[in-house]
């Protein structure tokens, strides 16, 4: 019984990984016409990926999903809007502020701004710029989860908020400095980590299924969408303030 569950999880993970292996093998052998280097290492790595993915998915069902839903239910039962919104903001802010991908992007953005003569290229000012950028992204993700949770509670239709956000992004693109636009657009994508996404999804679905009159499908999703949209606006806004 248990072995058959484990085998099924492993088989699922092999299917998940198979496309990458096929694409890389195809380009290496057919297009670039080169042998696969260090075949032993590649196979060893692939086995690690399959084992890791199976464990991760098992852990999702055992812990991240249930804890997200349990928190949503407990907070909804407590009935205090303040604490729900506080939790939402803290979750978004704290999981983003130390995110390695964000730290890397912020450092790179500072480098570009320094080279482009937009800010003083001394080390101090670069560090300060990168820190400010990181803080504004983390704050915007916290705010995004907060707005998203507020939407679930009040039952606002998501498309007005998202389309409104798009309009703001478009307007800011016109006035924001050219150098920051690419980074701002990418910042939306890098903020939500693999551990945060399942937790946030479970929180939204849990809230929508606990609050009367909300549908888990229509209202429960959408938190991640806000978390990808607001950082773009904030990073461009940061660029506008810093560069004048």
């Amino acid at each position: 019984m248990i072995t058959s569950i484990i085998l099924k999880k492993l088989r699922d993970s092999i299917y998940d990984l198979l496309p990458i292996i096929l694409v890389i093998a195809f380009f290496q052998i057919v297009v670039l016409k080169q042998p696969l280097p260090q075949i032993g290492e590649v196979i060893f790595g692939a086995l690690l990926v399959v084992a890791g993915l199976s464990l991760f998915v098992q852990g999702l069902e055992m812990s991240l999903f249930p804890i997200g839903e349990a928190m949503a239910q407990a907070l909804a039962r407590k009935g205090s809007l303040f604490w729900i919104l506080f939790f939402a903001f803290a979750l978004g802010f704290s999981t983003t502020v130390a995110e390695p991908a964000l730290i890397a992007v912020a450092a790179e953005a500072a480098e570009i701004a320094g080279q482009g003569g937009l800010i003083d290229p001394s080390q101090d000012s670069l560090t300060q710029y990168a820190f400010g950028l990181r803080m504004s992204v983390a704050f915007s993700v916290g705010l995004a989860i907060l707005i998203g949770v507020m939407r679930i509670i009040r039952g606002w239709p998501i498309h007005y908020l998202i389309i409104g956000g798009y309009v703001v992004v478009m307007l800011m693109t016109i006035i924001a400095p050219q150098e920051i636009i690419g980074i701002a657009y990418d910042a939306g994508g890098v903020t939500t980590s693999t551990i945060t996404v399942p937790l946030v999804a479970a929180l939204g679905v849990g809230l929508a299924s606990t609050i009367r009159g909300r549908s888990p499908l229509t209202d429960g999703f959408g938190l991640i969408a806000f978390a990808s949209l607001l950082p773009m606006i904030f990073v461009m806004g940061y660029g506008l303030i810093i560069f004048g």
Binding site: G52, V97, P100
Partner: protein, 258 residues
């Protein structure tokens, strides 16, 4: 030995990722909710699975697939491969980059299928919709969107056209689709834009973007290397809503044939 050292570094990173979540949830349980956490033992075991699983996953990717994928991205965008050795390239011919577009599309599709965040969201969506939204259906639709998006993104880098024009047109398409799409799918479609670009996709796609921007004559990596992730977040929204519209349209046509 070297690998154990390397693995423990990744494991430490994953632990740091969960640390704020643990502090936040424990703090809330103790100070605000003042309740014991139900099924604590199971949660802890599951949490350990998540951390170790993710660390193994990342270590395996960085050991086996990322180096090869990154070398490939550089080789495919190398002018010597594209125009043949000995040619002196003065003008960029966007038609010569066929293999790059194909590689971008295929690697975008493949990495999205393996993306753990998307697996999690597809699982939830299928559970919540009582199976109407199939896990593989959603994942393949999203992956097709990423494939198209990244392929178009590489074309943008090669042709040197401004990023914002593509994104603005994409937004207009999303807004028009939102008016016509079935209401139930909209939130999920918007979410699928954000989950596609995570641990697997970002490193390979960023390598492709920076590699291309550095090797295509006249492009500046600082200005043109960014933006592929934005493409990968935008196009899945379009494909997911498009797929839902198609299903909806087929269903209505079946019920009233005239």
């Amino acid at each position: 030995m070297e690998f154990i050292h390397y693995f423990s570094k990744i494991l430490l990173g994953t632990c740091r990722d969960v640390l704020p979540i643990i502090i936040l949830i424990t703090g809330f349980q103790l100070l605000v909710l003042r309740q014991p956490i139900p099924h604590l033992g199971r949660l802890v075991v599951g949490g350990v699975y998540v951390v170790i699983g993710l660390a193994l996953f990342l270590a395996g990717l960085e050991k086996a697939l990322f180096p090869l994928g990154k070398i490939m991205a550089t080789q495919l965008s190398d002018p010597a491969f594209i125009y043949g050795t000995g040619e002196i390239v003065t003008r960029v011919d966007w038609k010569a980059y066929g293999w790059v577009y194909l590689f971008a599309a295929m690697i975008g599709f493949a990495t999205t299928i393996a993306e753990p965040s998307l697996i999690a969201v597809a699982f939830k969506a299928s559970e919540v919709s009582a199976g109407t939204i199939s896990q593989w259906g959603l994942r393949i639709t999203v992956a097709l969107g990423v494939a198209f998006g990244i392929s178009l993104g590489t074309f943008r880098i090669v042709s040197g056209t401004p990023l914002y024009i593509y994104i603005l047109i994409g937004y207009v398409i999303v807004i028009v689709q939102t008016i016509f799409a079935p209401k139930g799918i909209i939130a999920l479609a918007y979410d699928s834009g954000g989950v596609t670009t995570s641990t697997v996709t970002v490193p390979l796609v960023a390598a492709l973007g920076l590699g291309l921007a550095a090797s295509v004559p006249g492009r500046n990596p600082a200005l043109d290397g960014f933006g592929l992730i934005a493409f990968a977040s935008l196009f899945p929204i379009i494909t997911v809503m498009g797929y839902a519209q198609l299903m909806h349209w087929q269903a209505t046509r079946r019920t009233n044939p005239h």
